[in-house]
Amino acid sequence: MMVGHVAPSGAARKFSAMHFGKIVLLFASLVALAAWTSNPRREGQQSAPPTVATTRTDGLAAWQQVYSVLTHPRCINCHTATNYPQQGDDRHRHFANVLRGPEGKGVPALQCVTCHQTANADSTGVPGAHDWHLAPFSMKWQDLNDKILSSTEICRSLTDRSKNDNRDGAALLKHNTEEPLVLWAFQPGRRSDGSMRTLPPLTHEEFVTATRTWVEAGTPCPQTR
């Protein structure tokens, strides 16, 4: 399917001047070209045809907002490249030698659910949500030195269907809207010292909106510098 095809808007049709129509077509082609070159692996990927309002620029800006949430400790602490999760705003290695295990759920006597229940335990300071576990290696957002990956790298990995559990844009949006572990990041509960865990830079609503914009723009990724 020819991606990035811009259907002329109603507004554009009002102006029947050839001149203007050519500009629109040229613009559309440029958008299509840009979208195509920035997403070389997008073959087979469905996306909502972007409206005129959801430009690549808008999409990239929205992506930066999404990226700012993904790389916040409440999210990225479980998207490690290592055999352990992180904890805290300083993203230090999780205490008590907690490990990833073969399925990202820990090891038999030290599973994630050994401590993390299906809801926050504010009286004891342990966060919780349904099915607490680590994101798989394919969804790592850090390198082996616990350094956060770049915006481009994470965007690529997020939109790579061989890595992202075969999710298209709509599925990504659904994930960010409904997944309990995602929702948890915005209501992360209290620490054992009674203080509230810090929140991502956007509210969940803003995060969903940004995701939607990005998806509508065709999930564009920034160029590598």
Binding site: P108, A109, L110, V113, T114, C115, A121, S123, T124
Partner: protein, 155 residues
């Protein structure tokens, strides 16, 4: 204060406590079952380990309100559990304990491991026991006793 009904070692128990009360303190103070120990209160040491719904669980951080209908099994029930008993017998045979305070948790973790991996490798043992603290450092014999218990248990 609210009323909770939980199943502990096969028996139904009713307690009236604040919803945020950790399962550990419900066991120790409401049910007078002191085999499960308080070592840190933040799930860093494992002394409070029970089996909740068949999963090794650190009872010091699980509020009673989140227990639900999942059965609770404590150290007190291990003597009549084939895996638990094998672990206890090897612990005694190899003279594992010193002060003994952490050992309820160690045994519960070891039993959970063996129920999941009946023939664990050294790596399996070190990983599963990796979060149980022992200040007396009885770790050398804990490793040996788990391997020995594994051999005692029929596959």
């Amino acid at each position: 204060m609210e009323i909770y009904t939980i199943t502990v070692n096969g028996l139904s128990k009713q307690v009236t406590v604040d919803p945020g009360t950790p399962l550990l303190w419900v066991l120790r103070e409401e049910l007078k079952m002191t085999g499960t120990k308080y070592g840190c209160g933040i799930a860093a040491c494992g002394a409070c380990t029970v089996h909740l719904g068949g999963v090794a669980t650190r009872s010091c951080v699980v509020p009673i309100s989140l227990v639900g209908s999942r059965p609770v099994v404590t150290i007190e029930a291990m003597a009549t559990d084939p895996v638990g008993r094998a672990v206890q017998d090897e612990w005694v045979s190899l003279d594992v304990v010193q002060c003994g305070y952490c050992q309820s948790g160690q045994i519960m973790s070891a039993a959970a491991l063996l129920k999941s991996i009946p023939k664990p490798t050294d790596k399996d043992i070190e990983e599963s026991m990796g979060g149980n603290l022992c200040r007396c450092a009885t770790y050398v014999r804990i490793r040996e006793a788990i391997k020995s218990a594994s051999q005692q248990l029929k596959v």
